[in-house]
Symmetry: C2
Subunit: 377 residues, 2 copies
Amino acid sequence: MKFELIAQDKKTGARAGVLHTDHGSIETPIFMPVGTVGTVKGVFKEQLDKDVQAQIILGNTYHLYLRPGTEIIEKAGGLHRFNNWSKPILTDSGGFQVFSLAESRKLSEEGALFQSHIDGSKHLFTPENVMDIQRSIGADIIMAFDECTPYPATYEYAKKSMERTHRWLQRCMDRFHNTEAKYGYEQSLFPIVQGSVFKDLRKQSAEVISSHEAKGYAIGGLSVGEPEETMYEMTDIVCNILPQDKPRYLMGVGTPWNILENISLGIDMFDCVMPTRNGRNGMLFTSEGIINIRNKKWEDVFDTIDMALGENHIVNQYSRAYVRHLFVAREMLGMQIASLQNLSFYLYLVKEARKHIIEGSYSDWKNYMIVKTKERL
Amino acid sequence: MKFELIAQDKKTGARAGVLHTDHGSIETPIFMPVGTVGTVKGVFKEQLDKDVQAQIILGNTYHLYLRPGTEIIEKAGGLHRFNNWSKPILTDSGGFQVFSLAESRKLSEEGALFQSHIDGSKHLFTPENVMDIQRSIGADIIMAFDECTPYPATYEYAKKSMERTHRWLQRCMDRFHNTEAKYGYEQSLFPIVQGSVFKDLRKQSAEVISSHEAKGYAIGGLSVGEPEETMYEMTDIVCNILPQDKPRYLMGVGTPWNILENISLGIDMFDCVMPTRNGRNGMLFTSEGIINIRNKKWEDVFDTIDMALGENHIVNQYSRAYVRHLFVAREMLGMQIASLQNLSFYLYLVKEARKHIIEGSYSDWKNYMIVKTKERL
């Protein structure tokens, strides 16, 4: 895997690049749709490719490990073969999901003991076996096993948690380097910066993480409830320390305006369930602002949904009134259309961002789009 | 609207034809996917067109009348504009749905008083206003308001019910001829034969219905719980009486083998919720038989779903193991793929039937396919 920096914005920290993987190239900044169990909810692979124009998708190690399990994925020949997605895939380490289980997990230096949300069965995730599982799944980019420090956390807890994440990283690195990819293409391991909302911890974590040679670096533990300004502050501190020549991935972020702001700070990669989850609830992100499609005001508005995506885009084959009707009548097609709209818009947004970074007009465009994307229509 | 008879099978009553409408031609025999509230559940219009190759879809007057209501549909410029389906549409009369409400409806000579399943509000359907509603919806083929006689029914009830259906038909015809299409294209009214499972009533009803000049004729009140042999017997009696030069529509039927048998008896048009409803429950109809995709046996079967649909068909981009995984993990994409498989298979089946009728090999092919389609894989 190789990262090529194409352009850097003069007024902000925004960067445009290309990340080359064995499953093809990714133009950054990029948004990665989340395919929890190997599938982006409600979206056909063909649509993900042609309509959304996704360049890389994300899978969740925790979910895939429990279902269908690594045995089936290995039999299939890896996740790319199993879900038939031939472009790049990234898997998280399961850390975030395991720590979300709160009551049903127990943390130790060895790893995290947890109970399956499906059948209550007990499992242990360690830095070592999470590397093995991600080898079996076979994503192009795999993540270190970390503790996603809960928010809020005391300074003391955040520090201890961060230090454990750093120790676990070494174990991940060792296991990663002592094992090989199973399916004949390269896998790259990204370490994760933690440190909660404490500037000195974030700085320290960024330094420790950067001291490990890696093909890319991630920032975790943000967008977990802290104020937006705090998130930007932490990203800024970390981006000033992470190597310039490697991609930076801000995990689990976020709203359209969060993405635009974080691009300014030097982030190259994003993922979030928001476009699909909120879409399934009738919230549409568009280039003109946010639409609550269940609202009665759309009942007889026969306009298309978002012309910025092009008049031939699949979502523009349906009117706002029709999509509202689908939601009110609880038709699953409504959720499908909304998911496609939101993912397509997120991909449109990062593509436009990239264009403006290259053209040198990112700052003005960003300020304009942040206002636009926050508007409630 | 004009029906053109292309070929008739020598050994059976099977026919191949073309039904010309203002929204294009329909090659018969045909299966019509059901789009209850104007949308075929879980299927994009583009997929219905290219993957399923649907030539006509069905909408339900009862559902569309309640939601979004005729006012919105009229504002949109009719259902074709509202759901953006530019090929032919057929609407049922609401009779079947209203009579399914059992407890919450009251029948009189005037019509049927019923309570909405959505909000309990009271509504009256009469032969006249059902014609008006179907004028507002604007389907190419609209249906007479009838009583779908429940099964089982006494001879006495079935006779009274049938006679009322006949009286209502005259009122439908009168209203239909005294009103005009609203959107500049032709609408055709199909009367419906009733008579439960009583041969003399079916005969009588077929004669009365045939005495009305119409562009096509329907058979209702079958596939409501009676034995399959009885259904075939009734269809046979009726098809021997209905005009040869008009299309015949058997309402709400059925399984793949039901369709093949009824084509033999002279039926040209079918509709049924089975492919989508059973699909959403994990039952796949294929050219090789029936697959219960939740079954553990598919867990590691990486074969495509149904090669008869062509290796590039959208469903064949997913393996049986993957679709099983989607169902087990309760991912909506599983239901979407299964709906596409079943509808595509039903359309494949009637297309193959038509080809064999034209080639003169329908009978043998049908006997072979009936065994095939019933098989449990």
